[in-house]
């Protein structure tokens, strides 16, 4: 982090200019730094089991793929746990939702909760609550919880170094002048009707 902080901090005058093309390297370094720093963690607001469940859920919402790590590695559960510690109202939404989810899983899958269910069983459950169109008195609490979970996981992921790199954002750096690459202009022009 210190390395990145030094590179990105700018003094008022005599600004050391960070050429645009180095920005991507800086962001990558940060992402790696950050992932390396995610050592052991004691949840602040959630129980160990809730935290583990949340992590698994987050990783289903935004999984790792060939391009980039998923929400678990990006620390999404930690950030959501942090927010839960900051606000009881949010904690209740999360713990209530996780409890509902696990209760539902155990009911459907012979006592197996989300962590112990198979991938297919998790998918079957999430396919129900991830879509508003499935509303019913039985599923509504799960649907409402999933709306929160998806929103928070996306927030956590895309504001993390890993998520920012997945998007490919290379800005918030210093450039001596502003020009967009010819290649990008042509790419968009060709696809315009």
């Amino acid at each position: 982090m210190r390395r990145v902080g030094a590179t990105l901090s700018l003094s008022v005058m005599g600004v050391p200019v960070l050429p645009g093309q180095e920005a991507q390297q800086v962001h990558q370094a940060v992402a790696e730094d950050y992932a390396a720093q995610l050592g052991p963690y004691s949840p602040l607001a959630l129980t160990a089991h809730e935290f583990a469940t949340l992590g698994a859920l987050a990783d289903r919402i935004i999984p790792a793929d060939g391009r980039s790590p998923g929400a678990l590695e990006a620390g999404a559960a930690r950030f959501i746990d942090f927010l839960c510690a900051a606000r009881a109202e949010l904690r209740d939404i999360i713990t209530g939702g996780l409890a509902w989810l696990n209760h539902e899983m155990r009911r459907r899958y012979e006592g197996k909760d989300f962590l112990n269910a198979t991938l297919e069983q998790q998918t079957e459950m999430l396919d129900l609550i991830a879509f508003d169109k499935n509303h019913s008195p039985e599923l509504n609490p799960g649907i409402r919880f999933f709306q929160w979970a998806r929103r928070l996981v996306a927030d956590a992921y895309y504001t993390s170094p890993i998520g920012i790199q997945e998007l490919g954002y290379v800005g918030n750096s210093a450039m001596p002048e502003f020009q967009v690459p010819r290649e990008a202009v042509e790419f968009a022009r060709k696809r315009t009707p």
Partner: protein, 568 residues
């Protein structure tokens, strides 16, 4: 010796408010050698701690949610977000206002040195000749012409530094510009679509330096102007005007000072400003030879209305009864659209300056087909934005689901959304004004404002035109509107949401129907000047800040000269 010890100091001028107008007054008056006291209701600004522009979200524990996750419960302290440069809110604890039944108005207040200039959009457009002398008779003429104001626009642009190109358009008068900023990819597509529709789209005029100026560094294009600018490349009154004036030794700044009343003597001249010192909650006075009120249009009206005496039973300088009346805000309408041509766009740094690099000036002046008066300009947003909390909330809610499909779609569509904003002229009407609420006072004991506000058919028809125009542009770009379109009149912005309040102490030739003369000097009180947007007779489709600086400059030079001659 005894006399000096007993008498309190008298300043030449007290300036109330430190935004674009107050900052200009402070600069011009101290440059002229006068001793100035500045009252600012908020705290001192410290750019190195208050400006967070280079922070990435993960460098703050809560990443912008706020220490109690306020963002997720609609309770953010700063309306424009945690990372934004210090800004205020439409709702300030302890500083309420009321809204009359049947009206809708939201009143924004920034409470820090520099005011709204710390977080404004930097859009700097001159009013046109026809704005000063409208040809349709729907509003009063201004007591000045464009020709008279042009040299003051020259001064304002010359000092602030404004980008642009000379285009020869009557609806976008040319100025003295710094080099323009190159368009982004989505702006190139936008420009091409506008060209097909015979709509002009020109480089934007922004108060951001593309070359160094007056000791301020040129912009380094980090794209975070709304979060603050430590290099002072994006114009603020705090950094460009007030800090240098403080260094001159002729400026004394009183922060945490809420102006309470203008104190006048029996001859009707202002002799002092009384204010509430917030820290001690005590009332104090500063004596002065003249006062410049620049507290923002409605706050200025409030101060005048609350300064009652037997001579001015309706508020100081208000013999016309026009203080608080003819309140306008900009007509606002916007949408966002998905542009398939931008999907999977090769990644690059699209930051530039925060805000548009191109814009559309009004193009139908004099057109007989349109069914509404005056016009609007179009702003465009887009590009690869710095991810924040909430950046993908709407998309997630729209797409539903989860997993790789969701992740892929977010990545593919990142940078493929544009936003279009219409900003148009409201015709001032008799139903839109502010007055003193008969009952409520704020936590400082100051009677609060009650707002009346209503759009008219003029504005509703204008918004319908915006909708049709935007739909054509989006279609020509091969795009698809992404925001649900409410039926007019719901589509128009809520009054006060564009944060361009104007007109509450208008200038004019006739003291019976105006508050100020052409120098923004009160007809009734010669040593009272106003330097925000309260004096503005109309609110053209050109953001008010540049004109605030131009008029404040002219008024301050006039005041300094009148003081030198002994007339004030």
């Amino acid at each position: 010796m005894l006399q000096i010890a007993r008498s309190r100091p008298v300043f030449d001028v007290v300036v109330i408010g430190s935004g674009a107008g107050g900052g200009t007054a402070v600069k011009v008056l101290t440059d002229r050698g006068l001793d100035v006291a500045l009252l600012e209701a908020g705290p001192m600004l410290n750019p190195s701690t208050d400006f967070k522009e280079h922070l990435m979200p993960y460098q703050v524990d809560h990443r912008g949610a706020g220490p109690h996750a306020e963002l997720y419960f609609g309770q953010q302290a700063q309306a424009l977000g945690y990372f934004a440069a210090p800004n205020g809110n439409w709702s300030i604890p302890g500083e309420p206002y009321t809204v009359a039944r049947g009206s809708r108005f939201q009143w924004f207040r920034s409470r820090i040195l520099g005011g709204r200039t710390n977080h404004w959009g930097r859009i700097s457009l001159r009013f046109s000749d026809y704005d000063f002398q409208p040809e349709d008779g729907l509003t009063d003429p201004w007591p000045v012409t464009y020709a008279e104001m042009s040299p003051w626009y020259d001064k304002a642009e010359g000092f602030m530094g404004v980008t642009g190109t000379r285009e020869g358009l009557r609806t976008a008068p040319d100025g003295n510009f710094l080099p323009p900023i190159a368009p982004r990819v989505h702006e190139i597509l936008f420009q091409a679509a506008c060209r097909k529709l015979n709509i002009p789209c020109i480089p934007s005029r922004m108060a951001v330096l593309t070359k160094p100026l007056n000791g301020r560094a040129a912009c380094h294009y980090c794209g975070q102007c709304d979060r603050g600018c430590r290099t002072a490349s994006a114009f603020t009154s705090s950094q460009a005007m007030i800090f240098p004036a403080m260094a001159s030794g002729r400026l004394t700044v009183f922060t945490g000072a809420m102006a309470r009343e203008l104190v006048a003597d029996s001859s009707g001249s202002v002799t002092a400003v009384s204010y509430v010192e917030k820290a001690s909650r005590t009332e104090k006075q500063i004596r002065c030879r003249a006062v410049v009120v620049a507290a923002s249009a409605c706050e200025t009206a409030r101060l005048l209305l609350n300064s009652k005496s037997s001579q001015f039973p309706n508020g100081i300088a208000n013999s016309s009864g026009e203080v608080g009346r003819r309140l306008t805000d900009t007509v606002g309408y916007g949408l966002s659209a998905f542009v398939p041509a931008l999907a999977n766009l090769p990644r690059h740094n699209s930051d530039g300056i925060k805000g548009m690099h191109v814009y559309v000036p009004w193009w139908l002046y004099g057109d007989r087909q349109k069914d509404f008066p005056r016009g609007y300009h179009i702003e465009i947003g887009g590009g690869f934005q710095l991810p924040e909390l909430g950046s993908f909330t709407e998309q997630c809610a729209d797409y539903q689901g989860y997993g790789k499909a969701l992740k892929d779609r977010i990545r593919e569509e990142y940078g493929a959304f544009i936003s279009l904003g219409g900003r148009g002229e409201m015709i001032s009407n008799a139903n839109s004004y502010c007055e003193i609420d008969p009952q409520a006072v704020d936590s400082w004991g100051i009677p609060v404002l009650r707002f009346h506000f209503a759009w008219s058919d003029h504005e509703f028809r204008q918004v319908r035109h915006m909708e049709q125009t935007f739909a054509s542009i989006v279609e020509t770009m091969g795009g698809k509107i992404a925001t649900p379109q409410p039926p007019p009149p719901s589509a128009i912005s809520v009054g006060g949401m564009i944060i361009h309040e104007s007109g509450t102490a208008r200038m004019g030739r006739d003291p019976k129907t105006s508050v100020l003369n052409e120098y923004c000097q009160a007809h009734d009180v010669k040593n009272l000047f106003i330097a925000d947007a309260a004096p503005f007779v109309t609110q053209p489709d050109k953001n008010v800040t540049l004109s605030i600086v131009a008029f404040a400059w002219r008024a301050s030079e006039y005041l300094a000269e009148e003081m030198r001659k002994g007339n004030v």
